[in-house]
């Protein structure tokens, strides 16, 4: 085969897997939007916070060490023990559940029946708060996250594909990060689990009822507040998974919270209310931006990944204002 074809194939494969990573973040948005109509801007920061907590627990950091040191003049930093990954993950999950409970108790409860824009702003405020809180609690330095997932390029694939190129061309095989492959599998498992959960459990049915119609759900005796806690906890769990994946890929640092911005065009494309939409949207965005950068990027200065996804989503929306899989917009006076 021609190396150009192989290169394109590699770009597409990488794009698909990058897309899955975007979908992971987008999933959290969709869950909360469906259940409460809140566009949760804090989703990205939740992923960052979850990853920070995970690393902190794993390495036995003292929470608020920096603050305590500044006030009391002590020299605290670590407890001196290390937790196994699985315990640390469970611990982080507990923190995210607690967080969901607090958010419902102190923010959402007071903002029932406000306009969507007000709720959206509240989540931006929440994002700021969590960012400051996370930094204060665990420190702002870049941390390495290692929960035992394999990393680096796949040599097997590289060797296999190196032979595919036509004779005499200097082609060295495809580079595909094993971590991305893992992320893809975990994302698929997550989606299957979420679908099963919402289709076959009582809580799942309640979730769907709330998503369908708040008032009708209330009138058949579903507790809206309990549902919100559950949804935020699930979104926290998704954020934890996304945080682990992205954290393992990029290191746990502030820029992790910016992946929320990458998930937005995915949401627009797929529709705010559709879980399959988040996946398909992610794949389209991932492949689209990688291909565009590969084919056209070098001609116009590169780094097109910053905006291409938005432009693509914008174009899609002009033709389909509710996204690919979103609920049909019905307008009445």
């Amino acid at each position: 085969m021609d190396p150009v074809v192989l290169n394109t194939l590699e770009v597409i494969l990488n794009g698909l897997m990058a897309g899955v990573m975007y979908s992971l973040v987008a999933l959290g948005f969709v869950l909360i939007f469906k259940a409460s109509g809140i566009f949760n801007y804090a989703q990205g920061v939740m992923a960052l916070f979850a990853a920070l907590t995970l690393v902190g627990l794993q390495t036995g950091q003292v929470p608020f060490a920096h603050l305590i040191n500044a006030i009391f003049g002590t020299q605290l930093h670590h407890f001196g023990w290390e937790l196994p990954s699985i315990l640390a993950i469970l611990g982080s999950m507990a923190v995210m559940i607690l967080f969901a409970f607090l958010v419902e108790r102190y923010i959402l409860k007071h903002l029932v029946n406000q306009e969507p824009i007000i709720l959206f702003m509240a989540t931006i405020g929440l994002a700021f708060f969590m960012e400051g809180f996370g930094d204060l609690m665990w420190g702002a330095d870049i941390k390495k996250l290692d929960v035992g997932l394999p990393q680096g390029g796949s040599f097997w694939l590289e060797e296999q594909t190196a032979g595919w190129a036509s004779e005499g061309s200097d082609y060295y095989g495809m580079y595909i990060d094993v971590l991305d492959v893992w992320a893809t599998m975990i994302a698929v498992a997550l989606v299957v689990a979420l679908t099963l959960f919402s289709q076959y459990t009582k809580t799942g049915r309640a979730l769907r009822a709330v998503a369908d119609d708040h008032q009708a759900a209330l009138s058949v005796g579903i507790s809206l507040r309990a549902i919100w806690v559950i949804v935020w906890a699930i979104a926290g769990f998704v954020a934890l998974v996304a945080g682990i994946m992205w954290g393992a890929k990029l290191g746990v640092q502030f820029s992790l919270s910016l992946i929320a911005l990458k998930a937005l065009p995915v949401l627009m494309l797929g529709g705010f209310t559709s879980i399959p939409g988040a996946i398909v949207g992610g794949l389209i965005i991932g492949v689209g931006e990688k291909l565009f950068e590969f084919a056209i990027g070098p001609m116009i200065g590169g780094a097109t990944e910053n905006w291409f996804a938005y432009m693509l989503a914008l174009l899609f929306l002009v033709f389909r204002p509710q996204g690919l899989f979103g609920d049909k917009i019905i307008e009445r006076v």
Binding site: I124, G125, A127, G132, L136, A140, W307, E331
Partner: protein, 358 residues
């Protein structure tokens, strides 16, 4: 006692429709304007100019712009940073291409150019609504910043990619460049803010403003009673971008002096201005001012208390600042979702009946 309509008789329609119907309000307004124009320039120093007054004035202008679009017309925009960058770069290109043109007109022209760009990005708003539009405006933000970063023509092929404002004068006094005196830059910005806040106030209570508000409250209903949504939405985008462009041009030329697009006009700017109008009050010109003042003063105050008085490390103060800003935003939204302007309105209502509320 002093603050009431009783005894204040109106004898003409213009007097009846005045912005400040209550005499006390009118005098307070004149007093504030007089103080800003006649007293502040004589007591201003460099610290007050650079840290508080200039950012306040410029952000107030940007906040008025965004408030016209989001507060009055209901179109949420997250592209403010991009449009500010557009104004800044238009200003830079015009300053370097026409060195003899007065800086006053250059700033106005930059606003005009930004308005055209805003129109372009406003076009999708006819199809896309709500959050979808908010995210769509992010396209403007990222695309414009990328464009100014990657196309060397915009920064005159300078090696660093930075744009630097050359010195320009008005009546022989420098208002841009490092040599400009504090009072001159302050007055220059103040004139813009004063004039355009006045224009905005009158735009929003005229025909245009009513059309915007009709679209905001329910666009289909507005269409049925005869508001042209194409015209209303696009004028809102154009006017809003004009204001934001002005603010961007002033921000770059008068305040910063030199700017790098990725740093000065990134997405944080968009959120900052959005916070200002939410905290100040959506759909209120006065609210834009209060919100801008609040968001400019808060970090300065926090920094002064935490780093200056308590002697904490500055990175800790920064984290705490994020945390406190976040808390305040959430707190404000819970206590008063309509912002500080609404609190002010309530206070005035109370004051009208004071001291005999029954």
């Amino acid at each position: 006692m002093f603050y009431r309509e009783a005894g204040d008789f109106k004898t003409s329609y213009p007097a009846d429709a005045a912005t400040f119907p209550i005499a006390f309000d009118r005098w307070r307004y004149f007093l504030v304007i007089g103080f800003a124009f006649l007293v502040v320039p004589f007591i201003i120093n460099d610290y007050w100019e650079k840290a508080i007054l200039l950012p306040f004035l410029i952000y107030a202008l940007a906040a008025i712009g965004l408030n016209i679009l989001t507060g009055y017309c209901g179109q949420v925009s997250l592209g403010t940073g991009g449009f500010m960058a557009c104004g800044a770069f238009a200003c830079y290109k015009l300053m370097t291409a026409f060195p003899d043109l007065n800086i006053f007109f250059i700033i106005l022209l930059s606003g005009g150019i930004t308005a055209c760009v805003g129109l372009l990005f406003g076009l999708p708003s006819l199809r896309i609504k709500g959050f979808y539009l908010a995210v769509a405006t992010l396209a403007a933000q990222f695309f414009l910043v990328w464009l100014f970063n990657k196309v060397p023509w915009f920064y005159n092929y300078s090696a660093t990619g930075q744009i630097t404002a050359p010195e320009r004068t008005i009546f022989g006094v420098a208002v841009t460049g490092p040599e400009s005196p504090a009072w001159a830059t302050y007055l220059f910005c103040l004139v813009f803010v004063f004039v355009f806040a006045w224009v905005a106030r009158n735009l929003t209570r005229g025909r245009n403003g009513r059309e915007w508000m009709a679209i905001r409250d329910m666009d289909i209903a507005a269409e049925i009673i005869g508001v042209n949504p194409l015209k209303a939405k696009l004028t809102a985008f154009a006017v809003s971008s004009f204001y934001v462009g002005l603010a961007g041009a002033l921000f770059f030329s008068v305040y910063l002096g030199a700017a790098e697009v990725g740093e000065a006009f990134n997405i944080d700017k968009s959120f900052l201005v959005l916070f200002m109008i939410i905290i100040g009050g959506l759909g209120s010109i006065f609210g834009s001012f209060v919100g801008a003042a609040f968001m400019v003063l808060l970090p300065v105050l926090l920094k002064n208390t935490l780093v200056g008085s308590l002697g904490w490390p500055s990175d800790l103060a920064q984290h705490l600042q994020l945390l406190i800003v976040g808390l305040l935003i959430v707190g404000f939204l819970i206590v008063e979702p309509h912002g500080l302007a609404q609190l002010w309105r309530l206070a005035k209502e109370k004051l009208r009946l004071w001291p005999f509320p029954h």
